[in-house]
């Protein structure tokens, strides 16, 4: 007896009354079906998923239309592609848990990624910064030190031991992904540290380097900026010059636009991937059109190595009024509407453009989607080292030895807090009962652990949905319609990081 898989997604195609898309989460199937077939599939759902104890699922639409079975051949395809199954709900959930454990286990065996935090110090005082307290509260002054070069050496000596924990044999040729984060990692004063990390990384093996930077002192790194050294940089511009200079301010209150703009041009000319990130709330969303004009005026959009993305500001400190923030879905809808009125805004990437682009590539190349058993590399093997040799799993949670997952000691051994490490690396979509039942789970990954903890009073083994069901259906529908209409697809790099 067949029932509809609990992991079937229905995507309406706006303006198309005859067809829709079916997507299957764990087989990765994408199919276009007649509405009659979709109605048939929906009719075989065992029942609505139980209301979660917490979280904000988006309810699925009810069965619409007369139900009539499709051909046996179609039923066969639906079965082979995963949409129909003879497993009970409980059996399927149990299978899915094993599938996630296996998939996650494979990811854990990949090369870890490393972040160096040369310092927690920063030359800007952005009001919404989650690290604001480190620079404005004197109780945290002790954090504002620079990483000694000897610490860099200790960390590199520790890397093989970390890689061994991921099952990577000692004789394997190193393939390193090394990022710089802070504070502000690319302060001019940090140059010896950054240079030393790049040198040690290249000595060790194949390495790629990237940075999250405010871009104000990037000129101090000009000769290191190249595709084979510091090859990718994300830089923040929070609006057109007058708005940016209200938000991205130095300690003396002065703005930073002009200097950053000059550095962006310099980096692009040197062939570096530059991704502009714009942090948006209700107060500056109206300035995005003017920002787009500035990016065009500077000529940056003509570079193939240029990208841009907006992101919602999260209320992560007491100075940020949550009422002024937007969630991801709200921002996506606002920006989409604004784009319809002003095509210049198409150069500002939406948060879910990576999802749209992925869908476009699936349709163009008949490829597979991402299977995200967890939300980000904090759960699969990201190691963030600060100036003190403390090791963290997530760049949103640093600067406190009580939450570190390890420490690199003087003999380059990593003294792990294995419980905390296991906590971070054990968070998957199967590790909480809400995500386990969600049909979007392998696309979403369970949402950000830090944001989940913020919403639940500290428990990050919770879902953080952020309107994902709406976002997924809207993004895939848009991608499919663009694909069907032959709209040109600029396969450019997507922007950085999920947060």
């Amino acid at each position: 007896m067949l029932r509809t898989s609990s992991y079937t997604i229905y995507v309406d195609l706006p303006g198309n009354q005859d067809e829709m898309l079916l997507v299957h989460t764990y087989t990765g199937a994408f199919d276009r079906v007649s509405r009659r077939v979709a109605t048939y599939v929906r009719s075989l759902e065992a029942g609505r998923p139980p209301k979660p104890l917490y979280g904000d699922w988006t309810p699925e639409a009810a069965v619409d239309g007369r139900v009539s079975p499709p051909t046996d051949e179609t039923i066969g395809v639906l079965s082979r592609r995963g949409y129909l199954t003879s497993m009970t709900g409980e059996e399927e959930e149990e299978f899915f848990s094993r599938y996630v454990d296996k998939l996650h286990g494979l990811y854990l065996k990949r090369w870890p990624s490393y972040l160096f935090m040369p310092t927690y110090d920063c030359n800007l005082r952005c009001p919404y910064c989650f690290q604001d307290h480190m620079r404005t509260d004197s109780r945290f002054d002790h954090l504002l030190k620079q990483m000694p070069l000897a610490m860099v050496d200790r960390i590199f000596a520790a890397m093989p031991k970390i890689e061994a924990l991921h099952g990577i044999p000692a004789e394997a040729s190193p393939q390193m992904d090394i990022g710089f984060f802070g504070g502000e990692p690319l302060l001019a004063a940090n140059r010896p540290i950054v240079e030393h990390v790049i040198r040690r990384g290249r000595d060790r093996g194949e390495a790629k380097f990237w940075a999250i930077s405010n871009g104000t002192e990037l000129d101090a790194y000009e000769d290191l900026l190249s595709p084979d050294q510091l090859g990718s940089v994300q830089i923040t511009l929070d609006g057109p010059p007058r708005e940016h200079d209200r938000r991205r301010v130095h300690a003396d209150g002065s703005g930073s636009w002009d200097r950053i703009a000059a550095n962006v041009s310099m980096a692009l000319d040197r062939g570096v991937m530059v991704a502009i990130r714009t942090n948006v709330d209700r107060n500056n969303v109206g300035d995005l059109a003017e920002l787009a004009e500035e990016l065009i005026r500077h000529g940056w959009v003509r570079y193939p190595n240029f990208g841009s993305q907006v992101a919602p500001i999260r209320a992560s400190n007491e100075k940020t009024d949550a009422g002024e923030t937007l969630d991801t879905w709200e921002l996506d809808r606002l920006l989409t509407k604004m784009r319809n009125d002003n095509s210049n805004l198409e150069i500002l990437g939406r948060v879910d453009d990576s999802l749209r682009n992925q869908a476009r590539r699936i349709f163009s190349h008949r490829g597979l989607p991402a299977f995200k058993p967890s939300f980000c590399s904090a759960h699969t093997g990201m190691y963030i080292f600060d100036a003190f040799g403390d090791v963290y799993a997530c760049w949103e949670k640093t600067g406190d030895e009580k939450i570190r997952i390890g420490h690199v000691d003087e003999s380059s051994e990593v003294q792990f807090s294995f419980d905390l490490r296991a906590l971070w690396q054990g968070r998957t979509v199967a590790s909480n009962p809400v995500c386990l039942k969600c049909r979007y789970n392998l696309f979403c990954g369970g949402g950000c652990a830090v944001l989940a903890a913020g919403h639940s009073g500290g428990d990050f083994y919770r879902n953080y949905c952020d309107g994902y069901a709406h976002r997924f259906r809207a993004a895939v529908a848009e991608a499919y319609q663009d694909h069907s209409s032959g709209k040109a697809f600029q396969d450019k790099p997507d922007a950085f990081c999920d947060l």
Binding site: L21, G28, D31, L103, R110, R366, S377, C497
Partner: protein
């Protein structure tokens, strides 16, 4: 002369838009080589970063999210 209404193209019941990770036989989990296919899928994403940075992970391939790879039969 009456204009003939343009015939609408027939709607297919189902059109597959990509290759799935694996195929289920008779709607049940009789998958051969499931483990191997998963390993291939993960490996096909590239070890730590692709050359084209087409995915949302400038910082390396946290998930094979580029949508361009397939598992060869």
């Amino acid at each position: 002369m009456k204009k003939r209404k343009k015939d609408k193209a027939p709607i297919s019941e189902i059109v597959s838009l990509n290759e799935a990770l694996f195929s289920l036989e008779a709607g049940n989990l009789q998958i051969e080589g499931f483990d191997r296919r998963l390993e291939l899928a993960v490996a096909a994403a590239g070890d730590f970063a692709c050359d084209t940075f087409t995915c949302s992970s400038y910082n390396g391939c946290g998930a094979f999210s580029c949508g361009t790879f397939k598992i060869k039969p």
